[in-house]
Amino acid sequence: MKTENQKAWFFVAPVLVLVAFNALIPMMTVVNYSVQETFGNNVFFWEGLRWFEELLASERFHAALGRQFLFTGIILAIEIPLGIVIALAMPRKGPWVPVCLVLMALPMLIPWNVVGAMWNIFALPDIGLLGYLMNTTLGIDYDMTQSPFAAWATIITMDVWHWTSLVVLLSYAGLVSIPDAYYQAAKIDGASPFKVFRYIQLPKMKQVLTIAILLRFMDSFNIYTEPFVLTGGGPGNATTLLSIDLVKIALGQFDLGPAAAMSLIYFAITLLVSWLFYTLMTKDDAK
């Protein structure tokens, strides 16, 4: 006979309270804003799904979303392969291991707004090291405040510099967990270095890479601080990513309703892509 009682709630309750305060309640406030219009003074008018409909039809939102996907796509396409290559090149044993690990971890320790400010100064055409080098020494016209292409190149380089290390460290963790016997067996089986990578290293890194891609997707898709400090979304709207646009609407124009609706759609997209990706990547393991 199973005895039934309600004691389990005591164990679940602390988590429920915590989640309620840090996720559910703030989220519901946003849901609340997203269906109303306000002109201040804490007066609200019911608007239903109007903000959602307007937003999904708006050119401005489409453009920002497009830029967001482009940005995330480019940095993933660079950071994941680059991270794997660096991890493969790192020593597995010996005195250089801690040196490499610390060097790799350094960029990630720098606060995000500092990263933005650093690159902003670095790229200034007349006094920045990079800007001066490009314009004066190499004679390449480079000014991210004028040219959208230069602005994009700069924020992408900045993100690659800041976050490739994460991919490196995760891949490296996956690599060092491979027992020596695998490499020895591959040697005896006559496998080429590419086959060792394809059939031993890559499969053993699959799980950590899934996590790395997920983290980099979510982080880069929600990126705000660094491009805001670096380009402020400009020139024009060239680097106005979703989150920058969101803050412009919410705080710049104080359109709380549309901004709330945008937040929810933004959140839903991040969640959906992450879920799809994770499900696809782990589909084989479940079998």
Binding site: A181, Y182, I188, G190, K195, Y199, I200, P203, K204
Partner: protein
């Protein structure tokens, strides 16, 4: 397939070895004949895996040479030595099917696909994995994974030697026996030289025609399982092989005979000359209880199934005897008899009696 010769092989993991203790392998000279089934037996840390890795080429010896059929291969990398090795933990390529796993060593060497199919089918049939060929290797049970690892070793028909490095470590006990007899059967069918490294005497003795016993980086005896059991050339072999191991008893030499706690003990043959601490060695299986003989007091009796192991004290020395029937009670006085043709003298651990009677 080839005859393998190890000549003056020494290996140290230190860059500048000085004393003999710095060597993991101390001067090994060995011949493995073509098509033989060998076992390398010894306790953990005795250098057997080092020796195996040197033969396969994963490790470069500090000194000495390895010859395959008289050709020096010491400097060749593993893939050019044409050898196969099965590791302690099954190594399989997770993303490939069982078929692709087995075909991998052949395809890497550019073997035509038609021949690959034939060989894989043949090996799969031998290992009884034919029905799994299309399955993904990652999902197999440990014993099947280890079978696939073995299969990758056996699939090439031109291998010089197949080496097994404690391959049954991760296998469940009831499957160990099955895989072991499978290996023995495979050896008879493929006729390749096989070297099997283990610290488990049962595995070594059931698999091999010749067992090489190692201790502290040295080969102490090479022989058939029967020879190792019946006439150990070193007390280590006597002690390591057998359960319980050989009795090794402190002895005294005077008047041309051996004495144990003041009692004369008759040996199998004449004592050979030389120096060194004398010890008497006799297996518990050849010690019996009787009405007359060496007086002893029973200290402990352990039931090991079909037999009893009686541990009795002759003076200060404990002697084990394997007996059948009702054992004596602990504390009782008994008389022990040593079978003369199985009683030997050792000096500093090494056999020091001749087999012929004086």
């Amino acid at each position: 397939m080839a005859k393998i010769t190890l000549s003056k092989l020494r290996h140290s993991y230190m860059p500048h070895p000085k004393s003999a203790e710095d060597y993991a392998l101390k001067e090994i000279d060995l011949d493995w004949s073509d098509g033989g089934a060998y076992a390398l037996l010894g306790p953990s840390g005795c250098g057997k895996s080092t020796l195996l890795n040197i033969i396969s080429g994963l490790l470069q010896p500090s000194e000495g040479q390895i010859l395959f059929d008289g050709t020096d291969v010491t400097a060749l990398p593993p893939d050019q030595r044409n050898i196969a090795q099965v590791f302690q933990f099954p190594v399989i390529y997770d993303t490939m099917s069982v078929f692709d796993n087995l075909a991998f060593p052949l395809r890497n060497r550019g073997v035509p696909e038609a021949k690959v199919n034939d060989r894989v089918a043949e090996i799969a049939a031998m290992l009884e994995v034919t029905q799994m060929l299309d399955a993904k290797a990652a999902g197999l049970s440990p014993d099947n994974k280890q079978k696939i690892s073995m299969g990758r070793g056996l699939v090439r028909d031109d291998v010089n030697v197949v080496m097994f490095d404690e391959p049954l470590t991760v296998i469940d006990p009831h499957l160990k026996w099955k895989l072991r007899s499978k290996l023995k059967e495979l050896h008879q069918r493929v006729k390749a030289t096989m070297i099997y490294v283990t610290h488990d005497q049962t595995e070594a003795l059931t698999f091999a025609d010749q067992v090489v016993v190692m201790q502290d980086g040295e080969v102490v005896q090479i022989g058939t399982p029967v020879a190792l059991f019946e006439r150990p050339e070193h007390t280590f072999v006597g002690h390591f092989i057998g359960s319980p191991g050989m009795n090794v008893l402190p002895a005294e030499l005077r008047d041309g005979g051996a004495f144990l706690q003041g009692h004369n003990v008759l040996l199998e043959g004449a004592i050979t000359g030389g120096e060194g601490t004398p010890q008497i060695g006799i297996r518990p299986e050849f010690v019996s209880l009787g009405e007359t003989g060496l007086p002893a007091t029973v200290r402990k009796v352990s039931d090991i199934g079909r037999h009893n192991v009686v541990e009795a004290m002759i003076g200060e020395v404990s002697v084990k005897a394997v007996t059948e029937g009702v054992p004596p009670a602990p504390g009782s006085n008994v008389h022990l008899n040593f079978r003369q043709d199985q009683t030997r003298l050792y000096r500093d651990g090494w056999l020091a009696t001749t087999g012929e009677k004086t």
